[in-house]
């Protein structure tokens, strides 16, 4: 199985094709979002909405045999692409792995600049919330 950093590196490689073309990157992100596995509508409830994000983003954690899976969705396509990347990186990882991750891909794919404070708070909010879940399940064990 690929490591977390393998996947980050793959993402970085994929995005590097677009060089500095932000528009293409966003279109690509939207495509990634479209491929995200659908969320169980029952899980799309207010308590699973990420706070501090202008778009609506839901993240629902499933803990199974020591590792985590995430269902996610968003009402906007770019944000859905972003959360899809996090799901791709963190699905089927242990809480410990998730908590230790250095998410270097974000700045490397040039999203640090594009996704300014409101959005990046949203992005930061997604990351934070997913780590909170990881932490909860780790302590639960």
């Amino acid at each position: 199985m690929k490591t977390i950093n393998d996947i980050q590196d793959e993402i970085i490689a994929d995005f590097s094709l677009f060089e500095d073309d932000m528009e293409s990157k966003l279109f690509y992100l939207m495509d990634i979002g479209k491929k995200l596995a659908p969320m169980d509508p029952a899980h799309q409830s207010p308590e699973f909405i990420i706070k501090g994000c202008m778009s609506k983003v839901w993240v629902y954690p499933i803990f199974n045999e020591g590792s985590l899976q995430f269902e996610a969705d968003s009402n906007t396509e770019i944000t859905k692409g972003l959360v899809a990347l996090l799901v791709k990186i963190w699905n089927n990882r242990t809480p410990a792995e998730i908590l230790q991750t250095d998410l270097y891909f974000i700045t490397q794919i040039g999203m640090g600049s594009m996704i300014g404070s409101q959005r990046s708070n949203g992005f930061a909010g997604m990351i934070q919330q997913m780590k909170i879940y990881a932490n909860a399940f780790q302590n639960h064990n």
Partner: protein
């Protein structure tokens, strides 16, 4: 100052227009949120801090005198700019929001009794809605709304029907920030005065687009924000008729607004100081003069003609068949150069970010008009708003970027 002749010349006064955004030349179409500032405004701010900075009024030293004189000279120019009877009717506030809060809290509390009515429209900015909700809740007065029609214009017939002797205050946006619609405020003011109500005009969006004449309009109060009128942030104006301002209790209290203070009670200063408690935004007031001068030098007619030409070009472009995915919100033709729209099949936030990737700055969201959005059955829009420094080429570039986005949708 020389009259300013060409748009290129005007653009050269706005250094920010040379910014690069995501590797693209900035195309700033978010002017209804805040306008950019001409270099004369920026220089005036700098010059104040480099040479004259001092607290104003009640001081005898030279820096304080220089600052006070410049500060008060903005008020004089403001008087001319809106054609007030006297400069003391021009009160400096933090912005339109504070100006409206001041009137709601001070005048509203003075006159409103249970059962009285306050009349707004359904297209008000939250700043001209929430303060009235709160004062109505406090006084027992009732909020009523002039309905709007599907094209985003006021239903004037309904407006005139709803104006009745129970109405004590009418507060209406002159130009809708979400839709661009220009409201028939002269008619409303006349009808309101006929039944003895007072009228407050939210001129946040109007002030940068056309000439204001408070005496000709005969409005009782008017609110303006500097930052939407090519001036600095953190500054607004409340115009009010002297007899009303004199009858009103102070809003905030503290330094500057008092005459005599005893431990147990105080008496208040004369206008305009009675409503200017505390150290004001001295630098912004001084620099705001250059913003008023900028608009005056260009002339409202020139501004109107140019902005209309931009808007017409945009509308023509967007109405072409290849743009069938765009749905305009606010189609009444009596409007300023502001257009809200939806891209059918894509969330407005996504549209905004894609445009930003091309260097184009637009506003997305509810534009602080949630009830209006609800009326249209939507959550928000993409809003493009044009100013004197925008160009026909920018419109073309904007249209091309929109085209590309629309083409992406399945």
């Amino acid at each position: 100052m020389n009259p300013i002749n060409s748009i290129a010349e005007i653009r050269s006064l706005f250094p920010v227009l040379n910014e690069q955004v995501n590797g693209k030349q900035l195309v700033y179409l978010d002017n209804a949120a805040t306008t950019q500032k001409p270099i004369s405004v920026i220089d005036a701010l700098q010059s104040y801090y480099l040479h004259d900075n001092a607290n104003i009024h009640r001081s005898a030293h030279t820096l304080a005198s220089r600052a006070t004189e410049q500060f008060e000279s903005t008020r004089e120019l403001l008087q001319t700019f809106i054609n007030a009877k006297e400069s003391a009717e021009c009160i400096f506030t933090k912005g339109v929001t504070e100006s409206i809060n001041l009137v709601a809290a001070s005048y509203g509390k003075l006159v409103l009794k249970a059962g009285d009515e306050v009349l707004l429209t359904e297209m008000e900015h939250h700043s001209n809605l929430v303060p009235w909700q709160r004062i109505c809740a406090e006084t027992g007065a009732v909020l009523k709304f002039i309905p709007i029609q599907t094209d985003g214009s006021i239903d004037l017939e309904a407006a005139l029907a709803i104006i009745n002797p129970k109405v004590k205050i009418v507060s209406v946006v002159w130009v809708s920030n979400a839709l661009g619609t220009i409201n028939p405020i002269a008619t409303i003011i006349e009808a309101a005065h006929a039944i003895g109500a007072k009228v407050m005009i939210d001129a946040a969006q109007a002030a940068s687009h056309f000439k204001i004449d408070v005496q000709a309009l005969d409005c009782d109060f008017m609110a303006i924000s500097s930052h939407k009128l090519y001036g600095p942030t953190g500054l607004g104006v409340l115009y009010g008729k002297r007899e009303l301002l004199e009858a009103m209790p102070p809003y905030q209290s503290g330094g500057e607004m008092i005459k005599e203070v005893f431990l147990t009670h105080s008496t208040y200063n004369e206008l305009p100081y009675k409503f200017e408690a505390g150290t004001p935004n001295i630098a912004a007031v001084i620099a705001f003069k250059m913003a008023l001068q900028f608009v005056t030098d260009i002339g409202h007619e020139t501004i109107a003609v140019h902005e209309k030409s931009l808007y017409d070009a945009f509308l023509l472009g967007i109405q072409q068949s290849s743009f069938n995915k765009i749905k305009l919100i606010g189609t009444n033709p009596h409007k300023i150069a502001v257009q809200s729209f939806e891209v059918v099949g894509m969330h407005h936030f996504d549209v905004g970010m894609l445009l930003d990737a091309s260097g184009i700055a637009v506003r997305t969201g509810h534009h602080c008009t949630q009830p209006l959005m609800r009326k249209f059955g939507i959550e928000g829009t993409v809003r493009a708003s044009f100013a004197i420094y925008n160009t026909a080429q920018e419109i073309d570039y904007f249209l091309a970027a929109l085209q590309k986005i629309c083409d992406r949708i399945k």
